[in-house]
C-alpha cells in the first residue's frame, strides 16, 4: 500500500542547509557588473543627447 509522504519534508529540511551561504562574493560581483552596465549605457545615451544639442 502506498504511504503518504506528508512527514518527509520536516526532517530533511534541516540537513539541506549545510552549504556555506555566508559568502556573498559572487553576489557582490554580479551586482557591480549590473551596476556598471547600467551606468555605462546611461552615460553613453546622455552624452549622445548632449553631443547633439
Amino acid at each position: 500500500m502506498a504511504k503518504t509522504e506528508l512527514n518527509r519534508n520536516t526532517e530533511t529540511e534541516t540537513e539541506i542547509e549545510v552549504e556555506d551561504s555566508s559568502s556573498l562574493k559572487g553576489t557582490l560581483a554580479s551586482v557591480f557588473l549590473l551596476g556598471f552596465i547600467l551606468i555605462v549605457t546611461w552615460v553613453s545615451v546622455y552624452s549622445l543627447f548632449l553631443d547633439r544639442s
Binding site: S22, L24, K25, T27, L28, V31, F32, G35, L38, I39, W42, Y46, F49, R52, S53
Partner: protein, 158 residues
C-alpha cells in the same frame, strides 16, 4: 538589524548612483529648462488650417524672442507641410508642430529634435542648427498605410 558588509557596499552604491541620475535630471529640467515638447498648449484639430501660426506653415523670422526663427509644421496622413524647408546655419529655431488627424511623430534624423504630435496639442522644441546639410524629417509613430512614406526635408545652408 544585521547587514553583511557587502550588502552595505552595494546599497550605498545603488542609492548613490540613483541620486546622481536624479540630480542630473533635476538640473536638466529645473535649471536648464528642458521640458516635454507638448506642454499643455492646445488647439482644435479641425481648425488647424485657419489658426495662427498653422495657417502659414514654414520658416518665419521673429523679433524680440529667445529664438530667431519659428518653424511651423503641420502633419497629416501621410505628409508634412512644408515638404521641404531651408534654414540658415547657426539659426536658433523654435519648431512648432501639430497634427490634423491621428498621432504622428516628428523626428529630424541625427538631431535631438524628436517629438510626438498629438491631435489637439501643440508640440514645441527649440533647437540650434549648427551643421549644414540635408536632414530627413520622418514620422516615427505608426499612423496608417502610408506611414513609411511620410517624410519631409530640412536643408541647413550657409
Amino acid at each position: 538589524m544585521h547587514l553583511h558588509k557587502f550588502e552595505k557596499i552595494w546599497l550605498i552604491f545603488g542609492i548613490g548612483s540613483l541620486l546622481v541620475f536624479l540630480t542630473v535630471l533635476g538640473v536638466s529640467a529645473f535649471y536648464l529648462g528642458n521640458q516635454p515638447p507638448s506642454c499643455l498648449a492646445t488647439i482644435d484639430p479641425e481648425k488647424v488650417d485657419t489658426q495662427a501660426p498653422f495657417n502659414e506653415p514654414g520658416l518665419k523670422k521673429v523679433e524680440g524672442k529667445e529664438w530667431e526663427y519659428e518653424l511651423v509644421f503641420v502633419a497629416s496622413a501621410f505628409n508634412y507641410t512644408p515638404g521641404e524647408v531651408q534654414i540658415p546655419k547657426g539659426a536658433k529655431v523654435k519648431v512648432i508642430a501639430t497634427t490634423k488627424d491621428v498621432i504622428h511623430g516628428f523626428e529630424v534624423a541625427g538631431t535631438n529634435v524628436n517629438m510626438m504630435l498629438e491631435p489637439g496639442y501643440i508640440s514645441e522644441l527649440v533647437y540650434t542648427f549648427n551643421k549644414t546639410g540635408e536632414f530627413l524629417v520622418l514620422c516615427n509613430e505608426y499612423c496608417g498605410v502610408g506611414h513609411h512614406m511620410m517624410t519631409s526635408k530640412i536643408e541647413v545652408v550657409e
